[in-house]
């Protein structure tokens, strides 16, 4: 256990940006909220009144706004990390040091996959949640005398809906991880395979396949498998169809019930059964497992000379 923990810590020592970037984003956001968080309606009097419709899910929207930057940063950073992690150790030849330790190639590869695929997004979620709580409190306090649509702004805050929102985001994160696993495994394979520039290996083969397919068959199966996966996953993981302005095919449809697209963030939104019943998810996970096994094999048997 201690050995595994050390392996993970080692990844964050090497890729310091993985924890520095979220911490910096958090600090900047909280500072900005404290400095500029006062809503300037310029109506003069304390006890400001704003009329018009209030989104019923103001808190949820707020929470999502706080957390999205962290999740997006984690997606970018996790991807960059996965592409570099098995290439960097060969670039600086430190692989000979790592391999002189009693750490198996399987455990090395799996810990790196765990770091890039799971721990980085999970860390982003935890920091994002903390920031959304702290930031929301800062905003509310800065605007404590604001009255929206006849409702005191403090009364809009609801700890329960914050918690529920965390559940919804966390579920989405888990679903995204499952969906992203084959991509992550492919990136690691590119990383362990590349003699130089793993980024090219990460991008070029799928792109080439896409172009070749289009040129030879004029079809776009590869594109649909790669691109459609993201789209499909969202619709599997959430009951978006009932709320969204887009239907399952991504086309805009007529607004339901008189122009209000306001999503109500309840647990009803989640559809884990759908997600887990998707054949595509399981094929993706199987592909991820196969590519990871191949990655372990390549690291194990590659002759560094």
């Amino acid at each position: 256990m201690n050995a595994l923990l050390t392996q993970v810590r080692r990844e964050f020592w090497e890729h310091r940006a993985l924890w520095i970037v979220p911490v910096v984003i958090a600090a900047l956001m909280l500072l900005a909220a404290a400095a500029f968080g006062r809503i300037q309606l310029d109506l003069g009097e304390p006890g400001i009144h704003v009329d018009g419709p209030t989104p019923k899910s103001l808190v949820e929207m707020l929470v999502l706004g706080w957390e999205l930057p962290f999740l997006l940063a984690a997606a970018v950073q996790g991807t960059g990390y996965l592409i570099d992690c098995l290439y960097g150790e060969r670039r600086d030849r430190s692989i000979l040091f790592w391999r002189s330790m009693p750490v198996s190639d399987a455990s090395t590869v799996l810990m790196k996959l765990l770091t890039g695929l799971v721990l980085v997004p999970l860390g982003a979620f935890v920091i994002g949640a903390a920031v959304s709580l702290a930031g929301s409190v800062i905003l509310l306090l800065r605007n404590h005398d604001l009255v929206l649509n006849g409702q005191h702004v403090m009364a809009l805050w609801n700890m329960l809906s914050w918690l529920r929102m965390q559940g919804i985001v966390f579920y989405g994160l888990l679903a995204a991880l499952l969906w992203y696993a084959p991509f992550a495994a492919y990136l690691m394979l590119a990383s362990v395979w590349a003699r130089r520039s793993p980024y090219i290996w990460a991008v070029a083969p799928p792109l080439l396949l896409l172009i070749l397919e289009h040129m030879i068959f004029g079809s776009n199966y590869v594109g649909r498998i790669l691109g459609g996966q993201f789209h499909e996953f969202l619709h599997l993981a959430y009951r978006l169809d009932e709320y969204s302005a887009f239907d399952a095919r991504g086309t805009v449809r007529a607004p339901r019930s008189g122009g209000d697209f306001d999503i109500s963030f309840t647990m009803h939104l989640l559809s884990p059964g759908h997600l887990l019943a998707s054949l595509r998810l399981w094929i993706g996970l199987l592909a991820a497992a196969a590519m990871t096994a191949l990655t372990i094999r390549v690291r194990r048997y590659r002759d560094e000379t």
Binding site: F97, R300, E304
Partner: protein, 300 residues
């Protein structure tokens, strides 16, 4: 204790290049074996097979383990320094200690700290900030604090200045006296390890050309500085190597009783460096090689 390394009929090719050509040797516990050869002779390939870092044909057992099969089990008992400065530059000294302490069950952190205390290396430094000599010191401090049964060193002092090289081998020797450990090291700077080794293994173009205990060299090899008047007589005794130096002729003999050379000149046991040069020259000349010093296979 059982044999530490047992290699039988080991071969390795890279494309058409034969790095190891049917090599057999063994290493007994507590020995310090020098694997000596020129650049590209196959030293590093031999070490890689022992460490399970490459595929090969033939049979290798290290501590009773087949390296290619169970590298993990092997690495908890075997340490190696692949060459100077492969420690990752971004790692700090303190984290290097944390890491090895975390993953290695046989690492004694206190011991590593003791060795480090004798150096100028600061805990907070990143390895990239250290000089090459200091990096090697750090690596050695880490490795020596591991209670391993076999220590493999591949050109550990390459690119270091004389002071660091001397310190390296001194530290190694002092630590070695403490524990019953086996060391296998490669170098092409033979003179540096001459007094350290208990056994030598000369390797050239993928073949073992000499496998001997240092203590046996005196009975097996003679170096004769020939008196000018006995030149013909000395030549008739089939030296496997002849060298002219400052107008004097030096001849090397193998498996020739010393008394047969009595009176022909000044007689002594050749140093390992001299022997190495001689063996390499012989090996380079196939005709001479067939006379005296054919490639030796497994030692008994």
């Amino acid at each position: 204790m059982a044999t530490i390394i047992e290699a039988k009929n080991l071969s390795k090719r890279y494309g058409s290049f034969v790095a190891l050509d049917d090599v057999s040797f063994s290493v007994q516990p507590g020995r310090i074996v020098g694997l000596i050869g020129r650049n590209g002779a196959g030293k590093t390939t031999a070490l890689k097979t022992i460490l399970g870092l490459t595929t090969y044909q033939g049979n290798v057992q290290v501590l009773g383990i087949e390296p290619a099969r169970d590298r993990n089990a092997l690495m908890s008992q075997v340490c190696f320094i692949a060459d100077a400065a492969v420690l990752p530059r971004w790692l700090s000294v303190a984290h290097a200690l944390d890491y090895v302490a975390g993953v290695h069950p046989r690492f004694d952190r206190k011991r590593a700290e003791q060795v480090l205390a004798a150096t100028d290396i600061r805990r907070s430094s990143r390895i990239g900030e250290l000089s090459k000599g200091m990096i090697t010191q750090l690596h050695l401090a880490l490795i020596l604090a591991i209670d391993a049964r076999l220590l493999v060193l591949d050109e550990p002092t390459l690119g270091l200045d004389l002071i660091y090289r001397r310190q390296f081998y001194d530290t190694l020797l002092n630590d070695y006296i403490d524990q019953e450990r086996t060391i296998l090291l490669t170098t092409h700077q033979v003179e540096e390890v001459e007094n350290l080794l208990t056994d030598v293994l000369f390797i050239d173009r993928g073949r073992v050309v000499l496998d001997a205990a240092v203590d046996d060299l005196a009975t097996r090899f003679q170096q004769l500085t020939v008196a000018p008047q006995h030149l013909e007589q000395a030549r008739a005794l089939n030296p496997f190597y002849t060298r002219e130096l400052f107008g004097r002729t030096i001849m090397l003999y193998e498996n020739l009783p010393a008394d047969r050379l009595d009176g022909l000149g000044e007689l002594r046991t050749p140093g390992i460096a001299d022997l190495f040069v001689a063996k390499m020259q012989v090996d380079a000349a196939p005709v001479a090689a067939s006379q005296g010093a054919s490639a030796q296979g497994a030692s008994p």
